[in-house]
Amino acid sequence: MSSSRFSTKPAFPEGSWARSWLDAAQSRFGAWLRRRGPVHPPLTLGYRQIYILPTRFGWLVGLLLFAMLLGSLNFNNNLGLFTTFLVAGIGLLSMHIAHRNLDGVRVAGCVPGQAFAGDSLALSITLQDTKDRTRRGLVAESKGLPATAGVDLAAAASAETALSIPTHRRGWMEIPRIRLRTRHPIGWFVAWSWFWPEHKVLVWPRPADHAPPLLTSGSSDSRNRPGDESDEFHGLRDWREGDPLHRIAWKASQRHQHLLARQFTRPERDRIILRLADAPGRSVEERLSILARWVMQAERNEFEYGMDLGATTVETGAGRAHQIRCLNALGEFG
């Protein structure tokens, strides 16, 4: 329902007195929330963290009930009155159920994923039931963000949901306060809890769409040199004195009537150092973007690459972990 569009435009312009007052009020409110109990996951939601109010639909039903009450009282209509009280009772009960639906839910984890600037970042939230109750329709949302789909929890089970947070610029990003809410069972009341993910997220620079081709540093001798077991299996050759015993391919040796040893090679890759100074661009951000694109290309071309950003350097290497290391360095730059 609350598909409020994400907007970057603040209600009050930066620097105005209203804005500063609002900011102060919000930070005080946040401080007050924090004083009431733990607010960082992992946390178990208890009565001190759970807030509850009627929804807009709930107010509407309240109005309807008031009309029913007035009419029934006026005409001394006892069945009408009973209907009114019955529906009011259902409402009151639904408030209690909404509270119970959240009470004892554990926000076990709140782990941000990775994203390039401009992409959405998936914040994975793990929810757990600690009170052996079935939970229904738990929704995580944050101000200005589309809410997650609802999560149902079986008794004593856990489930995961992901809040997608749009990113705008490279660098460390604060994750906003997150609201875990439920309108179970009939949507007249919304019970919610607030929590803050403890960690900031590093957003990578967006790889530039048009980057100059990657310059390989000449050393293109692609011959393979022998490697050890951590490298690729290459083939078999006759066993020679001095080869370790565990390299003997016993099964194959039996077939060939003499000892064979397994041979490994390490493929030689192009080495490259990506330098900030080499990247064209008017601003640092543009150049970081180009570097990010280069990192992606180098990884795709299976180069061995390192980075020199001036202040920081990254040793050469390859593979997914290395790529993340490089992108992190780009994200953190400056």
Partner: protein
């Protein structure tokens, strides 16, 4: 977010159920239009149809408005307003594609149910209340699950909790849990002693009680109406059957066709009876009649609260009776209401339209000549009715301009109105002041619950003549023609003319049902400000200041919530019913337990099977079964057939013990 098919069906179903009594009361073509709109919306879910655009929606809405205004001429008034509500909800329903709309439609259903009670609060409608509220709540639950539920899962593990059956069950449960709370509020919530605004009149769809005029032929439609008019419980024995004349409007003016009331009747009576020996004290529970008439035996001592006693001893309520009304009356039958008749009143009581009923006039003169004494003349007329070929029947012909002539000398077949009317004309022609009294006669005595049930079909009309030295005296010409009508009621006088549907057994059943209805009326519907005060007084709570009362209300409502919360704890606890697979395994474990092998805490099925196998001849089978169980339970879903096969295998397996002695030792 869109509505699921089940949701739409539930909302449409709940709306149709809530609208059911309204649909039954509105013109059939309008009801059909509303049902069609609902069915149309449901059809969207089954077949591919284009969504209605704004033009169609506008047409539906304004078309509905036009239909209502065409038929009722107004939106004001209960029936027109509720029909309008139905039409508007149906219009909303036909364009219900968003969750918001579905919610609004469902919530308005509660309102629709409450408005039905403006028309009737019969006991059967309590079932309508319960089922209707549960269905609407179920629809709301389903809508909420659509809104915030987990996204559509794979078909193998479809969530059973969102199926229609489970949602309806939850709806009933929620309503059931809310019932104690509603009951406390119902008992303790302060009532208004007098209404803030009046009920719009022209309701009850013309299904009104006795009217305040009479032209022979118009009580007849009441005879077919078996619904209760009022119920009476006496403080003491009830009067004999032949004395149960429930006095209503008294009619003086006659224009040759229609009898109407006299303006002068609205005076206060010159003298009122004194309650003494032989007086009846009773409480009347009158069903809504839309009229201001209250009914009493001859002669009410004083008017009940909120009503007036007229010179003709009619009881007139200040406002039309639109809800169940309870009032206490004391009647003194032994009373002479007027010593002498004023000249003006005598003129009214002798007035006849000119140039009408010449044969009756001539016959009256002839009788007058034969019987100079008024009483002798009346007796002669009554025995004439009794001995000549006069018949009592509802199956008769309408009368023309000389109604009394036609009836007395040609037709001679009719019912109370015909006889009373002709009799009074005859009396007036003979110079005896006479008037017509309408009301009810008789009633069914519910011996077990000691109350008298008067139905609409007990409506009656009789005559009163003014006799020198006696005052107004009741004469019932119908009694002369058909004594059983008075002794045993309207039904007996008409026996043999009905089909099996209104047969005796049904009549008995209805009488039994009315006992429940009476209890319902007395304890539930009759619970008003006065009753509430009495109830609080009986608990000794009436003297408390209002603030304390309010606090008490809150505390009691809270107290009701405590067991409720506990109950909830039990019902929403994650202890789910074991499914087929678990049941099969539990059966197996039961067999092991009976063989002396108890599962230990924290033992997995396979561990249990391995341990048990040591003492069993067919232990390897058990281990296989345990392995299969683990695979089915924790592995990928392999279809319902695999579970069925597993169940079949487990039901065949019995532990065969290797060495019973060694087991006993362990």
């Amino acid at each position: 977010m869109t509505l699921s098919r089940t949701t739409v069906m539930l909302v449409v179903g709940a709306f149709l159920f809530a609208a059911l009594p309204h649909l039954a009361a509105m013109p059939p073509w309008l009801a059909l239009a509303i049902v069609l709109a609902a069915v149309w919306r449901a059809a969207f879910e089954l077949i591919e149809l284009p969504r209605p655009n704004w033009l169609i929606r506008g047409f539906l809405t304004f078309g509905g408005l036009a239909l209502v205004i065409m038929h009722y001429g107004t939106f004001w008034g209960r029936r027109a307003a509720t029909v309008l509500l139905c039409v508007m909800i149906a219009a909303k329903l036909s364009e219900m594609f968003r969750l918001r709309d579905a919610r609004v439609v469902a919530a308005l259903g509660y309102f629709l149910i409450a408005t039905q009670f403006l028309f009737s609060q019969q006991l059967v409608l309590f079932a309508y209340l319960v089922v209707g509220c549960a269905l609407i709540t179920a629809a709301l639950i389903k809508i909420q699950r659509d809104a915030d539920g987990a996204p559509a899962p794979d078909e193998n593990h479809a969530p059973k909790a969102s199926g229609a059956a489970s949602v309806v069950r939850d709806g009933f449960l929620l309503m059931l849990l809310a019932a104690p709370f509603a009951l406390v509020l119902f008992t303790l919530f302060p009532r208004l002693a007098s209404p803030l605004w009046g009920m719009p009149e022209n309701a009850l769809d013309g299904r009104t009680g006795l009217s305040d005029e009479m032209s022979p032929g118009n009580i007849a439609n009441l005879f077919a109406d078996d619904s209760p008019a009022f119920r009476v419980s006496f403080d003491g024995p009830p009067p004999p059957r032949s004395e149960r004349y429930w006095r209503g409007p008294v009619l003086w003016r006659f224009d040759g066709r229609t009898w109407t009331r006299l303006f002068y009747s609205n005076r206060a009576p010159e003298r009122t009876p004194r309650p003494g020996p032989g007086a009846f004290s009773y409480t009347v529970q009158q069903e809504p009649s839309e009229r201001r008439w209250l009914f009493s035996l001859d002669y009410p001592v004083r008017a009940p609260e909120g009503a007036r006693l007229t010179a003709d001893f009619e009881l007139v309520n200040r406002t039309p009776v639109t809800t169940l009304k309870s009032y206490d009356v004391i009647s003194q039958p032994d009373f002479r209401d007027s010593v002498d008749l004023m000249q003006t009143m005598r003129r009214f009581a002798l007035q006849l339209p000119d140039d009408s009923n010449p044969r009756t006039r001539a016959y009256a003169q002839e009788l007058r000549g034969r019987y100079p004494d008024d009483r002798a003349l009346i007796d002669a007329v009554l025995s004439w009715f009794n001995q000549e070929d006069f018949f009592y029947s509802l199956d008769t012909a309408p009368l023309g301009r000389h109604g009394a002539d036609e009836f007395l000398f040609d037709l001679r077949v009719g019912y109370c109105e015909y006889y009373a009317s002709a009799f009074v004309v005859l009396m007036r022609a003979a110079g005896i002041p006479a008037r017509i009294v309408t009301g009810y006669q008789g009633g069914f005595w519910q011996a077990s619950d000691e109350y008298l049930l008067i139905r609409q079909s007990d409506a009656h009309a009789w005559a009163e003549v003014w006799l020198e030295g006696r005052g107004w005296t009741r004469v019932d010409p119908t009694a002369a023609v058909s004594p059983s009508r008075i002794r045993e009621g309207a039904r007996s006088a008409l026996s043999g003319s009905e089909g099996w549907l209104s047969g005796e057994w049904l009549y008995q059943l209805r009488n039994q049902y009315d006992r429940l209805q009476n209890i319902w009326n007395r304890w539930v519907l009759g619970f008003d400000a006065t009753r509430q005060q009495n109830f609080l007084a009986s608990l000794g709570l009436d003297k408390l200041p209002p603030g304390v009362k309010a606090a008490l209300l809150v505390v009691l409502a809270g107290l009701v919530l405590v067991p409720l919360a506990l109950l909830l704890q039990a019902t929403t606890k994650g202890r789910r019913r074991p499914d087929r697979l678990d049941r099969a395994w539990l059966r197996l474990r039961g067999r092991l337990r009976r063989a002396g092998i108890r599962p230990m805490v924290g033992e997995t099925p396979i561990e249990l099977a391995r341990r048990s196998a040591e003492n069993l001849d067919n232990g390897h089978e058990l281990i296989t079964l345990a392995g299969e169980y683990s695979l089915l339970k924790y592995g990928a879903f392999r279809g319902e057939n695999a579970i069925t096969a597993f169940g079949r295998k487990t039901s065949r397996w019995r532990p065969i013990q290797r060495n019973p002695d060694s087991l006993k030792q362990s």
